[in-house]
Amino acid sequence: MSSIRLSAEQMGAALAKGEITSVALTNQHFDRIAQVDTAVHAFLHLDKEGALAQAASVDAKRAAGEKLGPLAGVPLALKDVLTQKGIPTTCGSKMLEGWRPPYDSGVVTKLKSAGVVILGKTNMDEFAMGSSTENSAYGPTHNPWDLTRIPGGSGGGSSAALAAFEAPLAIGTDTGGSIRQPAAVTGTVGVKPTYGGVSRYGLVAFSSSLDQAGPCARTVLDTALLHEAIAGHDPRDSTSINSPVPQVVAAARRLDVKGMKIGVVKEISGAGFQAGVQTRFEESLQLLVEAGAEIVEVSCPNFEYALAAYYLIAPSEASSNLARFDSMRYGIRVGDDGNRGAEEVMNLTRQVGFGREVKRRIILGTYALSSGYYDAYYGSAQKVRTLIKRDFEAAFAKADVLVSPTAPTTAFKIGEKSDDPLAMYLNDIATIPVNMAGIGGMSLPCGLAPEDGLPVGFQIMSPVMQDDLMYRVGGTLEAALNSKWGHTLISQIPDLQVR
């Protein structure tokens, strides 16, 4: 009997009771990956040897009676933007082909000490730039709900792995929605913690002031368990917050929102959102009201400028962060024939090593930072950022959490928007403000859109270092939805053709 469809919490319990070993559970997942990943293409690299060694070590510790955490022995899929010592880390780019980092990221260090079994590295848009995983240099990932559709991005590999039961847990990173939008379009749960809540050490930077690693799973509770496993201060990351981790597991188990005020952000719902997305969002609000919450409407007028400001700040930082990929110390090297100088080899390598979207953003960012334009572009964008923070402060004065649909549409077809960057950027319209303000954001599934039968995501936003609030609301809504449907949403996913 395969255990792959259990929740991570259930797997942890079965492991604790000795009903299954981690080695067996890990093998079941590798079997599943072997069966479906040719079609899904969630993984870029599998570390069978390392995973089974970790599983065996956890089993041995358990057999010796050692006290282990709730996720010890549970498998996980790691987004290929986080370093794991000795394991290829490509960031979905040709540039880093063959690079094996000599060190573990902060997240991986925490995962290893929690006994989590890392199966391998998942596909992503190159350097986390994209909303569909089509920008991966290694080919797109397919949405397990409909293989002709995108799994979201940039963390489409992680979300697809969860939806395809290739892993019960995954790590994503979210710069403008790269955890939440993939979760929304694959019917899974994803959380972008408060900026500074999870170490960025070893997270290959796209936009340092916006990037945040976070937990992904199929249930709110699993996401909370993973959140607590990876969160906490890391002295190697100066922007890491040195204060206690919010009690998100307890919040996810609370299943009670009585008296909570839930703010609907006027500017990120309604017009411009797919009808079925809006329908499912409003139904969810109704369920929260029935659970005892009060719905208030809030206005965040500066969100209008969020997308524009984001596409100045993120590319600006990226243009600098990605400068280090010059072929001198690691990664590929092109044109070093003994006759060319270093500068020419750098140029050739960057021409070949970076994909179109990455180049587009480097050029955009280089321009925005250049002298004479800095104030008009980067400077103005930073002001917008401050205004967005103030909008959130004002909104949180009226509501405990804020909500919106996660993405304007359900999963679109692969190739549908790949030639239209602006249409692609609009996917993140509802998720970007959260990154700009450094607050927490969650997406959880709230049903299938009636018109296309594809998953819809519900976004919950909570103030800085009050991530527990979104888990409390998310856990309650998930329970209400499951009880309304009589099943979980993910259980309705069509069976994948098994090889």
Binding site: R200, S238, T239, A323, A342, E343, S370
Partner: protein, 515 residues
């Protein structure tokens, strides 16, 4: 105009005018600007825990952070902040309650991230000053050098260009990179423009760098070794016609690797600029390279296009916000100013100006002070360090302080003062200590160098000398006292210099009935 030559054509500049420095200073007024880079002597680098020791094997003092590996993040070295604040306080700066790092973006292989993390428009220390004193024709004069800013940044790695004739990247066959230096904390101290120095500009610049170096040394924040690059000075200078009130176009001279070079480089550069101006040419704003052998400067690599460093605040670091109370604690810890200390020591030791200058230039103040603190008599202490020890150090081409410890020298000086050693014997003891024969006591014992003070032993030698030169002895008996010199010399020779000459004289004269 009938001439074949257009006299304003720059090609004939050399033939037209050749101003020497003094002549140049009759026409032009120089304005200085000095940028000093100091490598801090923290144990670890600016943003990681790698060692900072000089001279390690290439790329052995590196980690993911200073190699700029993907995903690695910087963390500011708290000790570097403390050192920088100390420097700022010693230079009378205001310490910013909020300052930030920025990224200076440009591609170069010795810079692992292709950006340098440096403070830019929000430095940690601003608006200070440093007073220096120089000798002028009218006697000692004080100049106030205003400090614009003191900021922190990280050093780059080092490139070694192999092949080609110049050792520069152009024409090299290949380049080797050593990232040991990448990420070493650097502090940059930038002056405001320094006007009004006139012909003393080179001396003022030298005095400033010297005083700055002494302050940095007294703070203990840097090795301040110009020859190793832990203290580097870029000298900016521009000229304008005297009385014009204008500011000319400046050049920036790099590769100035000693205090003397600061002065020489400015002499050379001022002369060069004056000659261009006098011949109707423009001074080009450029970086120039000081040539140690000729004392001239040559243009640096010309930049084909203006660099746009695209500075922006470093998002991986939080702002530096030192606590006001901590700053006051650091202020209270500031050591005595080097200029104050020099004046105090000169008075305490009663040293003539010239000798004080010699001590300062030889960098012997610390060790002389230490030797005196260990009980040595001041005049002897400084005479020994400045004389015999410096002479030996010069011979061996090492630093005087590396030859002998203050404690050993203080012990030897004490034995001289008590009459147990003569100067001549003491020199032998010093030699023995330097040769590694042990402590002064060991050397004295092994070499048998005690002053012979036993009268009977001396009398044996005196009687032998008299027996050898009976005529001389007779003359002395006859009242020719100066003739005693020959006999005293013979006794000294016989005792190998281990006798006290005055004692020998006393005994000899007494023996011959002349005392």
């Amino acid at each position: 105009m009938g001439s074949h030559f257009d006299l304003t054509d720059s090609r004939f500049a050399g033939a037209l005018m050749a101003l020497n420095f003094a002549q140049a200073m009759e026409k032009y007024e120089p304005t200085l600007g000095l940028e000093v880079h100091v490598e801090l002597n923290t144990n670890s680098k600016m943003f990681c825990s790698c060692a900072t020791e000089f001279g390690g094997s290439p790329n052995t003092q590196t980690c993911p952070v200073c190699l700029g590996l993907p995903g690695a993040l910087p963390v500011v070295n708290a000790k570097a902040i403390e050192s920088t604040i100390l420097i700022g306080l010693a230079l009378n700066c205001s310490i910013a309650p909020y300052s930030r790092f920025a990224r200076k973006n440009y591609f170069y292989p010795d810079m692992p991230k292709n950006f340098q993390t440096s403070q830019y428009d929000e430095p940690i220390c601003v608006n200070g000053f440093l007073d220096v004193e120089i000798d002028t024709d009218e006697g000692p004069a004080k100049f106030r050098i205003e400090i614009e800013r003191v900021h922190m940044e990280e050093d780059t790695g080092k490139s070694l260009h192999v092949g080609g004739s110049t050792g520069r990247i152009h024409g090299a066959e290949y380049s080797l990179l050593d990232y040991n230096r990448a990420g070493i904390p650097l502090v940059e101290i930038v002056t405001k423009i320094v006007p009004g120095t006139g012909k003393y500009a080179p001396q003022v610049a030298r005095a400033y760098v010297t005083e700055l170096r002494d302050i940095l040394r007294s703070l203990g924040v840097s090795d301040v070794k110009m020859e190793q690059g832990s203290l580097r000075c870029d000298a900016n200078v521009s000229l304008a016609p005297i009385g014009s009130g204008e500011l000319g176009t400046r050049s920036e001279t790099k590769n100035v690797n000693s205090l003397r070079s600061v002065e020489r480089a400015l002499f050379g550069e001022i002369e060069r600029q004056a000659n261009r101006l006098a011949n109707g040419e423009r001074v080009i704003q450029e970086t120039r390279h000081f040539l140690e052998d000729t004392g001239l400067t040559r243009p640096g690599r010309s930049k084909e296009q203006a660099e746009d460093y695209r500075y922006f605040p470093e998002p991986d670091l939080v702002p530096v916000t030192p606590d006001a109370k901590w700053i006051e604690e650091l202020r209270a810890k500031l050591p005595e100013k080097p200029s104050t200390r020099r004046k105090r020591l000169q008075a305490e030791w009663n040293v003539p100006d010239k000798e004080m200058t010699a001590l300062i230039n030889a960098e012997l103040l610390d060790v002389v002070e230490e030797t005196i603190a260990l009980g040595a008599e001041p005049t002897r202490a400084r005479t020994w360090w400045l004389g015999e020890i410096s002479r030996l150090a010069n011979e061996k081409e090492v630093e005087p302080t590396s030859l002998i410890s203050s404690a050993n020298l203080a012990e030897i000086i004490a034995l001289i003062a008590s009459g147990e050693l003569t100067d001549k014997l003491a020199r032998q003891v010093v030699e023995g200590v330097i040769n590694g024969e042990g402590s002064p006591a060991d050397v004295i014992a092994k070499r048998g160098l005690k002053v012979v003070s036993d009268d009977s032993a001396l009398m044996v030698a005196i009687e032998a000398a008299i027996a050898a030169q009976p005529d001389t002895a007779e003359r002395i008996r006859g009242g020719n006292i100066p003739a005693a010199g020959a006999l005293i010399g013979a006794v000294m020779k016989a005792t190998g210099g281990a006798a006290d000459a005055a004692k020998v004289r006393e005994l000899l004269l007494k023996h011959l009935g002349q005392a």
